[in-house]
Amino acid sequence: MGTSYQGIIKVELRVNGEKRQAVIRPADTLLRVLREKLGLTGAKPGCENGDCGACTVLLDAVPVKSCLVLAVEALGKEITTVEGLKDTAIQQAFLSEGGFQCGFCTSGFLVNAYALLKKDPEATDDTVREWLQSNLCRCTGYEGISKSIIKAKQLLSN
């Protein structure tokens, strides 16, 4: 038989390698639970409409827009937020290449790019473009972001 959740529920989420408890509603999005229940404010509520990608996290290593995922859907899965990326090549590259301006979109780009380069460290430009079309930068800092991706690939290949 399947599972069901009604009302207010106490759940355990696996986030960045740790078990975290939260009291949630089935209607709570993963973005809201991460930010408001677990204090992980790296993922940002840019549009809450699935357009901007600022809320991107990984669910079992797959990028998702957490504003379009219910927290209950993430039970039993491994959630990775930007807080879980510790000194990765992509973060180093964003620092060295100026891959951010206001920083609001940055966590989404970092998480998505991290997942891409983990899956395909030698991703072609077309593949990088395809993946990162999911993220918008209103500062239009795309050139710095592109340079950061190239640098990250170099760091990984070394």
Partner: protein
């Protein structure tokens, strides 16, 4: 945030999902089926819909298969568009679904959700219409298999409580020559002005279109015109336009005249590249 509450169910089988739906419907809980969830969460946040219960279908194993069985490719209705494109068992379907939304959203969008959703485009339907695919359904009256074209004739014809389980495409049709042309007003991540998909089978062109009219379609009368070798190319294009099953749509993305002009060019290119 979603400003109202609903219950959430995660059944293990299609029959369990149907039984849940029937029970919750009788209890006036306003159940809906839930797959990728991108559309439902958006509409719930906007309070365009206010279901009392979500029945999440993604844990039903037979709805996420993607494999060849005997002489058919079986496509689970809850496969993500990303997985469909990555595993690439059906090249035209891969090309079509890669144009829908963006990569991260496609990690959640399902083929069944794209077809059953409220948005009118249903682009994932195009390759299924072209190859006369079958669809397996489960509902309160049991299971049934239909041609996709029968299930979807201008609108989706599902009985209350029915859900999509799988699509099936004959293996011999998976690698036919094809073309996919999607026109958008701005960047690649946008709803389409229209999306044409075509295959060439036994020296005949088949054509399915989303977004040009108010509904997604494949039309035999239109295809007769498309393949009428007694006509010159310009005459073929005019005949196809005349035989569209509905008015060309006009909306904030583009006027009917704009769509028609682009469509004529794309038909010309299709005939040039895929015709005799």
């Amino acid at each position: 945030m979603i400003p109202f509450d609903f219950d959430y169910y995660l059944p293990q089988t299609a029959e369990e999902a149907v039984t849940l739906f029937t029970r919750l419907e009788l209890d006036e809980k306003k159940p809906i089926y839930y797959a990728g969830g991108t559309e439902i969460i958006t509409f719930c946040r906007q309070q365009t819909i206010t279901p009392g219960a979500l029945i999440d279908l993604k844990n039903i194993p037979e709805t996420t298969v993607f494999e060849k069985v005997n002489d058919q490719l079986v496509i689970g209705a809850n496969l993500s568009l990303s997985r469909i494109a990555e595993e690439n068992h059906y090249p035209l379907l891969s090309v079509v679904v890669k144009k829908i939304a963006d990569r991260t959203v496609r990690n959640r969008l399902t083929i069944g959700g794209n077809i059953c959703g409220r948005l009118p485009y249903r682009e994932a339907l195009l390759p299924l219409l072209l190859t006369d695919a079958e669809v397996l359904l489960a509902g309160p009256e049991g299971r049934r298999t239909e041609q996709v074209a029968t299930l979807f004739d201008k609108k989706l014809k599902l009985a209350k409580g029915e859900l999509l389980v799988q699509f099936k495409v004959l293996e011999e049709k998976l690698n036919l020559p094809f073309q996919s042309k999607r026109r958008v007003k701005q960047g690649p991540v946008d709803y389409p002005l229209y999306h044409l998909a075509s295959i060439r089978e036994n020296e005949e062109l088949k054509l399915a279109i989303a977004g040009l009219c108010a509904f997604t379609f494949r039309n035999s009368v239109l295809e007769q015109a498309l393949n009428d070798r007694s006509l010159k190319r310009g005459e073929v294009i005019n005949a196809v336009i005349e035989k569209l099953p509905g008015d060309i749509r006009s909306d904030e993305r583009g006027s009917a005249a704009y769509r028609k002009t682009l469509f004529e060019k794309d038909l010309e290119q299709l005939l040039s590249e895929m015709g005799d």
